[in-house]
Symmetry: C2
Subunit: 220 residues, 2 copies
Amino acid sequence: MTEDTAKPVSRPVKKRQARGEKRMAELLDAAAEVFAEQGFAKASTNAIAAKAGASPGTLYQFFENKEAIAEALMARYVTRLREAHGEAFDLAVAELPLEAMLDRIIDPVVAFDRANPGFYALLSDPQLAPELASAKRPAQKLMFERLDKILEKKAPGLPPEKRTLTAEVAVHLFRGLLPMIMAAEEPDLPKVVKETKRALRAYLSTTLPPEPRRITGSGA
Amino acid sequence: MTEDTAKPVSRPVKKRQARGEKRMAELLDAAAEVFAEQGFAKASTNAIAAKAGASPGTLYQFFENKEAIAEALMARYVTRLREAHGEAFDLAVAELPLEAMLDRIIDPVVAFDRANPGFYALLSDPQLAPELASAKRPAQKLMFERLDKILEKKAPGLPPEKRTLTAEVAVHLFRGLLPMIMAAEEPDLPKVVKETKRALRAYLSTTLPPEPRRITGSGA
DNA sequence: TGCAAATACGAGTCATCACTCGTATTTTAG
DNA sequence: CTAAAATACGAGTGATGACTCGTATTTGCA
């Protein structure tokens, strides 16, 4: 009963070989492309397998069904997003003035979203099956909870309900601008990102306490 | 060659009877429900026909294909949206102070969107076929162009490019909050709508010239 | 009243697709 | 070296769903 392999899970836990891990990664890469192009609903599992240079049978050796593919892909995205700007680093951001803070948060997220169109495709699809919605949730929570914590540090006096609403609204505001961010051609991107920050800054500064005045000269 | 029925269109223009118009309306009502529940991709034409109390054959007597249903539905929504707050009335809104203006614009739109979940379902679906995207466009243009005109009146000095960007961003900000607006339970709605207005007001007031001071007392 | 057009039906067609299964090959453990 | 486990294949299966078509009924019009 105390063996290390004793999992009460019903899944027949196979020992994965290195080859298998690699295949899974290839399949997820392919899935990301196909989802980005077709969206989850229209994407076909056979197309994913083909793009990965695998057969349908192989695909189903690693993923129970189509949804499991999206879930695994999402999980990978969440991991990568966490890595992209590490957890510890994040809370320090609350010490910065609003404008600098937004730079630090938004730039990496924009870069990540543009580098991973499959992530955007899954995240922005409003009618995914309930199971998939739950796969989406961690990704949304990720941003929401971080902002919530940052706001808590930046405005300790704010009542929690108000703070939570603010964080939620801010995340949705950003998501609203994501289509513009994703669609922008490279040269137009800075303009769009700048406007995004302006909008968020305008909104947040109505909720946050006024910033302490900055000395224009050097701080030495 | 100058007959009133001389249309170079390839469509075999049938004479529609009153019964036919009614059927089309019923089918569009059913389609709206099914799209709202399942989304466009998962919605089945047979389900739409069944919900309308019609047969598949009847459905295809009125609509060339599934996309045509969504296009017709969108066209109907755009018409209704135009009616909801008439064109002429709209420009007068630019004379109001920002806060009152947002009340006048946002309240009807929120009411419309909540009353027509099918509209939201089509509008928020990011991967519709290209033809459908073009059916969506008028709906998006509707809000964008109106805002653009209003901004032009409210801030004549603003360079057109800047004004257009502002209008586009504002519309996207609103769309970003739509999921919250749609998901809110009736009692929570005012809170969400209020926050929506706060966000838009904050953003727009950074672009618009400062408002003339209002006299707090009565104007008499 | 009678006929042509419009409306209505729904079983059937055909393509697509998620997923399976029998089998063949490669890897790892002993 | 060998057997079991893991990986790989891809034709096949069953379900679903968009759309058709032959036919029946209703309506508008002369």
